[in-house]
């Protein structure tokens, strides 16, 4: 199995349920959302916003190539395109990274281009180039993966003109349900030094099974 697949398998397990807070920081303003995230394999994922109140109940769901967004304020289900360039809910996380995360192994061809020490860990440096016809946002992704644990500790996301758009830094490796994972993931857009988004994992559960029927359009209004 390739380094990238091992890394993703380690991160997700067969399925996972995670709770997190997402803090978006701007020069004179910041906002924190809380969310719950479900994953199963590379094809199924779901995010529910649990706070603040005005956004609570908003659901993003991916199943195969379908991506849905349920908005409780207007009681509407909105279909989203597979590759969304826009950032997610005003954060620095791309829609692609969050909802479509599994597609890194599917849509990109990885190759090891070297080694580098990141956060004190000896890491593989992987260069990921999109496959032809893949519905992707990035022109190139560089991933730093810990040689010992296969945890991804950093990433750089480039556009098709090879400009660095966003940087990802993972830190505070913590035990979650028997696996050592970064507790904090920081997304830093390269154009603005004072803005960033921090994802803090509160809990991750790899054991509770999630039925496939959970990730269906008809269930989207019942996600809790």
């Amino acid at each position: 199995m390739s380094i990238l697949k091992k890394s993703e398998a380690y991160l997700r397990g067969a399925q996972s349920t995670a709770e997190m807070s997402i803090t978006t920081v701007r020069p004179s303003w910041e906002r924190t959302m809380t969310a719950k995230l479900w994953n199963k394999g590379t094809e199924m994922s779901c995010i529910l916003i649990t706070g603040p109140k005005r956004d609570a109940g908003t659901v993003f769901m991916k199943n195969g190539e379908d991506i849905w967004n349920f908005v409780p304020a207007i009681k509407k289900l909105i279909a989203l395109p597979a590759a969304l360039v826009q950032n997610w809910m005003g954060t620095d996380i791309s829609n692609d990274a969050l909802i479509n995360a599994g597609s890194l192994t599917v849509d990109y061809t990885p190759s090891v281009i070297g080694s580098k020490v990141v956060s004190g860990q000896d890491c593989w440096v992987l260069e990921l180039l999109p496959k032809l016809d893949a519905p992707v946002v990035w022109g190139k992704v560089i991933a730093f993966i810990d040689k010992a644990t296969y945890v991804q500790l950093g990433g750089e996301f480039y556009d098709e003109d090879n400009f660095l758009i966003t940087e990802m830094q993972a830190s505070e490796l913590t035990q979650f349900d028997g696996r050592k994972l970064p507790k904090i993931i920081k997304m830093i857009p390269s154009e603005d030094t004072e803005s960033y988004t921090i994802i803090r994992y509160v809990s991750v559960d790899f054991t509770t099974p999630i039925p496939d029927s959970f990730f269906t359009k008809s269930n989207i209004k019942n996600v809790k």
């Binding site: 701007r26 005005r54 908003t58 908005v71 304020a73 207007i74 005003g90």
Partner: protein, 403 residues
């Protein structure tokens, strides 16, 4: 000599009256023409700018260039007292303005969303005056008022719900569903096609802009010069805010006015040519009539220059009289059409509405126009009278007496 001129005027009343009347009508024509042109603009600026947008607006610095909710004013931390306490400022009207995609059934349309506090608003947004049907809302209500054009586009009526999809403060999702409580006709045709009014507090919630406003409209006291208030505000207001006059907010209106005024000036210039020849006609007539009289006066020893000065004085008195009478007589006409504008109809109306103007012709009552055109016509009259001087100076008494 003045006495002589005065007597000459009364000697031939008919001729004097014709000259006065000619000048008078010229003044009336020119003034009426310009009054309509300026009046239409004055009215448009008052209706569309003054009553809808305000002559002065306060924003967070940089808002007008960017118009993003991210540059809205934080009302909880911004001290607006220095603005409110300036002489001539009546109140500050908070508004939250943004865009949203509207949904109803399978129709969608982009719309301008304006969160307002109806009790504080300017006359153009006094809901009770502009509602076609339905009712106004208070700040705590959860209904919206849509413009006539939007209601027609979506084929919706009172009680139907419109869905809003947009982006709020710092990229927050801005979704909402609001029932239509009223349908209004906006005086500004552009707004009438795309404006949605909602209670300020609801707009703030939807756009995640709690306690924020994009715009503070400065309502100024009646009979106060907004430009003077604006100058004071620009000097005194804190650096984090920008004070903009309507001329800076809507430079396209100024440009449109300038283009229109240039066209108007060409028209007035043509009118002046016609006026010049009319006046020249009366002077030529006068000189021809008095050939014999001039000849006799010169032959019995009156100096040509004295005669020329007397004739000139006569003309000046007549033209001045005509101009003053014209300026006075046109005044009631100006007032009449200011309050009873000419309503345009048919194709003309549609054409003008396309340019977002109210299809009515108003006049201005500004006396500057009367004075300007009275003076211009007076000067033309004096210039034309030089013809008489020229004729007198090369007068041959013998020939003129024979003629």
């Amino acid at each position: 000599m003045l006495k002589l001129a005065w007597r000459n005027i009364w000697r031939n009343k008919g001729r004097s009256i014709i000259t006065i009347a000619a000048v008078m009508f010229c003044v009336i024509f020119a003034v009426v023409l310009r009054s309509f042109q300026v009046g239409v603009w004055e009215n448009m600026i008052h209706e569309i700018v003054g009553n809808n947008f305000g002559y002065l607006q306060v924003h967070q610095k940089g808002f007008w260039g960017d118009q993003s909710l991210n540059r809205s004013i934080d009302l909880s931390s911004t001290d607006v007292n220095p603005v409110e306490s300036v002489e001539g400022v009546d109140r500050l009207i908070p508004r939250l303005e943004s865009f949203s995609l509207l949904y109803h059934g399978s129709n969608t349309k982009g719309a301008l969303v304006m969160g307002i506090d109806p009790e504080m608003e300017l006359p153009g947004l006094q809901l009770n005056d502009i509602l076609l049907e339905g009712r106004s809302f208070s700040n705590n209500d959860s209904v919206i008022v849509v413009s006539e054009g939007l209601a027609t586009y979506f084929k919706v009526g009172l009680g139907d719900t419109l869905l809003f999809m947009g982006q709020g403060f710092h990229g927050a999702a801005a979704y909402g569903a609001f029932p239509i409580g009223g349908i209004a006709r906006m005086t500004n045709p552009e707004l009438n096609k795309q404006l949605v009014l909602m209670p300020l507090s609801k707009a703030q919630y939807m756009y995640n802009c709690e306690n924020r406003a994009t715009t503070l409209v400065v309502a100024i006291d009646d009979d106060t010069d907004y430009a003077a208030v604006g100058d004071i505000l620009k000097k005194t207001t804190s650096k984090s805010l920008e004070i903009l006059e309507w001329k800076e907010l809507f430079p396209e209106i100024i440009q449109t006015i300038e283009v229109d005024m240039a066209g108007g000036r060409i028209f007035v210039t043509i009118l002046y040519f016609i006026i010049s020849f009319v006046l020249l006609g009366t002077v030529i007539m006068m000189v021809a009539e008095r050939q014999r009289e001039f000849g006799i006066l010169v032959s019995i020893g009156m100096r040509r220059s004295t005669l020329a000065i007397v004739t000139m004085l006569e003309n000046i008195i007549l033209i001045m009289g005509g101009a003053i009478v014209g300026m006075a007589v046109v005044k009631p006409i100006q007032f009449y059409f200011k309050y009873n504008p000419i309503d345009l109809s048919g194709q003309m109306k549609e054409a003008i509405e396309q340019y977002n103007f109210e299809p009515k012709l108003y006049t201005t009552t500004s006396f500057i126009i009367n004075l300007n055109h009275g003076t211009i016509i007076f000067c033309i009259g004096v210039l034309v009278s030089l013809y008489a001087v020229w004729k007198i100076m090369k007068l041959n008494p013998i020939e003129s007496m024979r003629s």
